[in-house]
Every structure is written in structure tokens, then in C-alpha cells.
Symmetry: C2
Subunit: 311 residues, 2 copies
């Protein structure tokens, strides 16, 4: 594992193999997060290779840094593995982590392995930020709301995996290989007033921003990007495209707000407006308000042992 | 949870509740570790209150910082909890973590919660170190080997718990409430040539130091501290006191080496000597070499779903 993960870094004095890793001091504020991917909760082994599990778990953790405008500095892993787990599967998982860490321009400097009934990957990431980090607080009435990518694509990919529709590979891929938005996050520094990564679903994560900022929001449903074939494939899978777009989780795209009059369309797609009135309202293309129920149901922790599926 | 864990800290700009925590830059090298406590592997719920689970998991993680001579800076938690886990149990667990963090003069600044079949607590700790951290490498032939505390006491406590012998409370307590050796670890800076925390058992962890340092060692069994009643209680529990002392894990005491001629007896108890010849030899009080088998068996990861028990 050490040979898979180790990278020569002048800023790492001690890496994998001692009681703890030792990193050089950094002169910038530290941003620190942890995220977990648990077999049977976040993924099923039949859906992903172990290398994909490793890759995806790392990118999902890194999206928290992206949402703060941070660069990844280093990572540590805590793995639980069943006794029957093969060494080669472990090495594949670790290779996937290393792939994702390389793309994030960082590396894993330490970790812990223990037995457990299910495979779980707990990824802790340290980042550094130049100036003030983006937070969920800071959105102001009149700000424009933007998203990167197409927030519903990953949720549709999850539907496809459940239905064994592997032919709709662009959606399956959106779920399996979430985007690395670290560079985009850094571009938002000094531009965005608030940001969040979309792990729980667009409306729920926008709700976090609104709550932290003490504001409300209006979303123009027709402005939210959807990929080609989205409605058609959703229909084939008996999934509600509106639900997927508004409440489907795990896209790991970024949602951010920008002061009125500032054009950030090179960084994302404008989808709505921050307002004083609390709550999030969604306006359909025909001008009618979308039923709140369709916007309320997001990724609910602890609601199911199964992956978090559109109902 | 936030109200249980939050502490006012001028060096924490953003704590629990945003995508990630934001900490002030520190001018010293960073020491970073992660450790896990998994139900059915590291503990059984009938042995510990949830508050004790939280306390113990934090101290076990912190012992890695102690072994490097670091002060704790901040912690993040990643928890997996079964659906049926009660909120009150969760709050108790978190209170135990907060108790231990307070004693370590630090606090939890972020984390992640997810569902899982078993309770697991993954604790990641950042520390800072003044000057050069202690590592496992650095022991030199002729150095004296020291330990803090009585390395076998916790393993005997685990035997007592298995046998439901709660009356031998000093040993049960040694297992339930491992020592906070952070201050001691810092006292070792500039004194010790190498250090490790005793999580896997004295001989196995000493072996890690020897391997990293390219040396061997001789231990005088009669010099290794044992508490009062140790042999008697071990006999009552049909446990081998030599095995407990040499191979019993989870004491979270420190083992360290000090250059010949330097007296560190105020920091630990001298128990042996580093030598050029590779391998670890144990000499009994009668001058005979202790059978290698009794020294070889330590805490073996992945050998059992059950807690790691003396056989």
C-alpha cells in the first residue's frame, strides 16, 4: 500500500509507516474535512470496481474542499475491511484513491486499517486556502445562484445502475466518477459570496446556504442544466426528472452565489436568485411554483441501509 | 452534537456546520493521524458505556500524537451508526469524545455521520510539534529502552471483562480509560531518540522501532513494571502474565529509547537496551531467554472479528 500511495514530497517529513505523518507548516489557513463511503449505504460492490470505489470516495471528500475554495494539501485514510477481503481488492481500492489524489495534486500521507463487517473508506483531507475561504454563509438578497455541471445526472446514473441499464453510460459515469471541482472552487474565491457542494441534492444544499446566510431563494427550474437524453432516459427508468434535478444527491457539483451585476457565467450556470423571504421556491418553465414536496426530499442520512435512491 | 462539541477557539474560524472546518495557520510542523474503534472488533457494547467508547476512541487516537511529541491541535470525527442507534447514545458517545478532547486541550471541529451496520468511530487528530518530532527511527545501539506505566494492565483488564470479573476494577479501568500521554510525549522531545505508543503489544511495537531504526533490542522481563495483584489476577483468569506484559495490546503507554548515560527515569522505567544485533530478545529474571513464541504474538489486525484477546 505504501508503494502505491507514496509520493516524493518535500513538504512531507514523515509519511506512511510511523505513528503519524509529519507535514511542513503552511502559512495559510487550513481547511479540514472528512467523508465516508460505506458498502451497502453509499455503494454496492456490484456497481463499482474497487478502484472506482477508491476514486469516488476520494473525490467526494475533496468536493468539501472545493466548496471552500481550498487546494488539497494532504489526505489520510481510515479503512474497515472484512476478513475475507482480498489483498488485490485492497490494492485496487488504494490505486483508485491514488488516481484521485494525483488529479487533486495531493497524496495520502497516512492511515489506519481495521477489520469490520462492511468495507468503509473514511477520507480526511487537509487543504489550504489563499485569503478567506468560501463558506455557506455570505449569500445576500439579490445575489445570483449558479451551479456547475448538471446536478441531476449522477442521480439518474444511480437509477440506471439499479435497473442494470449500463448502456446509458454517460449517466452511470456521472455517478461513478464525480467531477474534480477543486480548481473551479479556487476560481470562486473573491467572486462568490457563498458556496456548497451538492452532496445531498440541489434544494437541500441550497437550503444549507440559505440557513447559514439568513436568506431565501428562488430557482428557475428551466435554467437548471440537464444533459442531452436526460428526460428520455428518466422516463425509460420511471424516474421523475424534476425530482432528480432538485433532490437527487451525490453529484458533487458546486452551487454558489454571486453579487448582483457580477457575471460569473464562465464559472457556472445561473439558475436563480437569493431573496430576503426565507425558504426556497422553485418556478417551473410555465411560471407556476413547483410543489414543495418535489423539492423537499433530498439525501436523508439514516433513512435506509440501501443506497439513497429516488423513490 | 454541535452544542456538546463546540468550544470557543480564536484559532478556529469555521467549525462544525459548514462543508469543512477552517483553522488558523500554525508555524510549526503538523502531525496528523487517524485511528478507528469498531464495535465487535475493538469493543463490545456490553463492556463500555457509549460515553466510555467515545472517551477511549479519542485517547487511543491521541496516543499516536503523544508518541511523536506533538500537542493536539484539533480533531475531526467520522461516525458510522446503525439505524436503530438512539440519539441519546450518540450524544453520550460524543460527550465522551468531548471529555477526552478537553483533557487533551483540544476540540472536535468537524466530522461526518453516516449509516452502517456497526458503530465505528474514526478519529483524525492534527497536532503541532516544537522542533523535530519523535519517530520510530532514531534508536541507536546502546540506547536504554523505557516504558511509561504498566504495559500489561490493559490486556489483563480485557481478560477480566471477558470473564465478567468487574471486581478487579483497576485493570478494567486500565483498559477502559487509557492514559493521556500527550504531556509526557512532549517531555520526551530532545531527550528520546525514538518513540512509539503501545497499541499492538510491547514486543511488536518495539519491533516497529527496531525495524525503523535498523537495530535490535534486549528486554529484561523482570524490569517491566507490573501493577500490584497482576500475577494473582492473571492466574485467577488463567491468563499468562508474561504474554500479557509482552504481547498484550491496547495499553496506549509510550515506549521510548534514550542515549546511553542519559537518565530518563523521571519519564519512564528502564526495561532494556538497544543493540546492533537485529531481533528482540527477552531475558527472564532467572537469566534465561524467554521463548520467542511468547513475545511474537501481539495485536494482529484482521485475525478475528472479535476483540483481540489473549488466547
Amino acid at each position: 500500500m505504501r508503494s502505491i500511495l507514496a509520493r516524493r514530497r518535500p513538504d512531507v517529513a514523515v509519511d506512511i509507516g510511523d505513528d503519524a505523518a509529519v507535514l511542513s507548516a503552511v502559512s495559510e489557513p487550513l481547511v479540514w474535512t472528512v467523508d465516508a463511503a460505506v458498502e451497502g449505504v453509499h455503494f454496492r460492490p456490484e456497481w463499482l470496481t474497487w478502484r472506482e470505489v477508491g476514486f469516488r470516495s476520494f473525490v467526494a471528500a475533496a468536493s468539501d474542499l472545493a466548496a471552500m475554495g481550498a487546494a488539497a494539501y494532504a489526505a489520510v485514510l481510515s479503512l474497515t475491511l472484512p476478513h475475507e477481503f482480498h489483498d488485490e481488492s485492497l490494492f485496487d481500492l488504494v490505486r483508485g484513491v491514488a488516481d484521485a489524489a494525483d488529479r487533486a495534486r495531493t497524496s495520502v500521507v497516512g492511515g489506519n486499517l481495521t477489520a469490520g463487517k462492511a468495507v468503509s473508506v473514511h477520507t480526511s483531507l487537509l487543504g489550504t486556502v489563499t485569503g478567506s475561504p468560501l463558506t455557506r454563509a455570505g449569500a445576500k438578497s439579490g445575489d445570483t445562484i449558479y451551479v456547475t455541471g448538471a446536478p441531476g445526472a449522477a442521480a439518474l446514473g444511480l437509477c440506471a445502475l439499479q435497473a442494470n441499464r449500463l448502456d446509458v453510460s454517460e449517466f452511470v459515469r456521472a455517478w461513478k466518477r464525480p467531477p474534480n471541482r477543486l480548481a473551479r472552487g479556487r476560481e470562486l474565491l473573491g467572486v462568490a459570496s457563498a458556496a456548497v457542494d451538492l452532496s445531498d441534492g440541489l434544494i437541500q444544499d441550497l437550503g444549507h446556504v440559505c440557513e447559514a446566510s439568513g436568506v431565501g431563494a428562488v430557482i428557475e427550474l428551466g435554467q437548471v442544466p440537464v444533459p442531452q437524453r436526460f428526460d428520455q432516459v428518466a422516463a425509460e427508468l420511471a424516474a421523475d426528472p424534476v425530482w432528480l434535478t432538485l433532490a437527487g444527491g451525490e453529484s458533487y457539483e458546486l452551487l454558489f452565489t454571486v453579487a448582483e451585476g457580477v457575471d460569473a457565467s464562465h464559472l457556472g450556470c445561473p439558475i436563480g436568485t437569493v431573496r430576503e423571504q426565507l425558504g426556497v421556491e422553485v418556478i417551473a418553465a410555465d411560471g407556476r411554483t413547483v410543489d414543495e414536496a418535489a423539492t423537499r426530499v433530498g439525501y436523508q442520512h439514516f433513512t435506509s441501509q440501501e443506497p439513497n435512491l429516488p423513490k
